[in-house]
Amino acid sequence: MNLYEQQASNRRKTWLIMLAFVAFLFVLGLGFDTFYLGTAGGFVPIGSVVALGVGSASAAVSYFSGDRAVLLSTSARPVEELEATAGDADRLKLRQLQNVVDEMAIAGGLPRPRVYVVPDQDPNAFATGRGPEHASLAVTRGLLDTLDREELQGVVAHEMSHIRNLDVRVMTIVAALVGAVALLADWARRGMIWGGGSRRRGRDDRGGGGAAGVFFLVIWLVAIVLAPLMAQALAMMVSRRREYLADASGAELTRNPMGLARALEKIESAAAPTQAINRGSAHLCIADPLGRAMNLKDGFWSNLFASHPPMSGRIAALKAMGFQGGR
């Protein structure tokens, strides 16, 4: 897949995910109408209408300000702000980060993204935003402290490729919607307990609406319970293969695959979980912030549920590139 195909596929995926989200909410709303309000007399599909409205609105909000939500949730701070108050040694690191980002922006022919630092000692990095013109790149404090210039360049190049091929758009919308689904599921669960009485009455009205109704009810309940899980699975699905791809195109930008390979080795050996980054945005990161064992192997279940490919495989692939390049 070349760059344009990747971009087109990511645009398509973003639309699909947003549509699926709205459709999913609509089904939940439909269920609310059927089981809580009943279809008898003066039927107004409040649930469906509200669900459609809420779904479209939250999809739009996720698209346009998902990046801000993600950055806020990690308490990342703009590098310029930190630089103004930093000591001498620290300022050197922050300046180096900005220089490296500038270099990679030039190499990739992209506008410079906004740069953030996450106050966390575990080395990790992620990019977010809806495209090259609206992109942010964040690294943890631990990454700045552990990596040297070449390694940092490798990591920044990896993130820059995510920005360039619009991976960030898909991953940001997923992160924002995972958050939204988690909220909704919480709310729906509480609603069910609270609305238990009216549901019984609704059923009496219809006089045992038949097997189809029960079937739908079961599906609806399962959907509510499983929503966060499904959102999670989606987040993992979107990120596994593209990490290999971003590694390769990142190495193309720096023309130095060994830099990124060494960076990944260092990131892996510092296996402490990145606490500042929560479950919902784990798939955005260069390395799994949760340090899950699932990510260490390749296999059916891992391919299904792990958010990141095994680190050893990524490092081996980069090293192979390095040797081919005669380095």
């Binding site: 001498d88 050197l92 300046r95 180096q96 220089n99 500038d102 270099e103 030039i106 190499a107």
Partner: protein, 186 residues
């Protein structure tokens, strides 16, 4: 009828000429813009060097030759005319700068000096930026030059005063020699 055909041919030719003229102008501006990206970084580099020399002078006083060589190479680079000339002179500046950094490694006071470290970071930053911008610029130049040289645009390009742009590249073999200093910074 013959007249009509003649008019049609002339109109088509004129349209084609206007089209290729505009395309060439667009490409020329892209090339200029690409060069500006490099030029900005080169200027920044020239501004940084006196600061670096001043910062290390106290500790490296008896390395006067190297310091003078750096300042001389910088002065020469300032007089560069056009990308090809700049590429050659900047290449020499890079070499002597590399020698200076290699020597500075022998001075513990310099190695731990935050000011020097910052200048070194800024200089390697500009050097990398020039390197990455060069690829982009040279691609633009190659496209622009090819567009001028292919038939039949070449008949027009000369008439309209388009000239091939220079690559930002060292063409002389002597300047390509790899300097015998280790630039890797750890």
């Amino acid at each position: 009828m013959a007249l009509l055909i003649l008019v049609a041919v002339v109109v088509v030719l004129a349209l084609w000429a206007v089209g290729s003229y505009n395309r060439l102008v667009g490409m020329r501006n892209q090339v200029l813009n690409g060069w500006r990206q490099i030029d900005v970084q080169l200027k920044r580099r020239h501004d940084l060097i006196p600061n670096l020399v001043n910062a290390v002078r106290g500790s490296m006083d008896f390395e006067r030759d190297t310091l003078t060589a750096v300042m001389e190479a910088r002065a020469k680079a300032l007089t560069a005319t056009g990308p090809a000339d700049a590429a050659q002179k900047e290449g020499q500046l890079t070499q002597v700068l590399g020698r200076l950094f290699a020597l500075a490694e022998n001075y513990p006071t310099l190695k731990s000096n935050d000011n020097v470290k910052m200048l070194q970071e800024e200089l390697s930053g500009t050097e990398n930026k020039v390197g990455f911008a060069r690829q982009f610029y040279n691609d633009l130049v190659t496209k622009f030059n090819t567009a001028q040289q292919v038939f039949p645009t070449n008949l027009f390009a000369n008439m309209f005063g388009f000239k091939p742009a220079e690559l930002f590249e060292v063409t002389d073999d002597k300047d390509r020699e790899v300097p015998a200093v280790d630039l890797t910074r750890r």
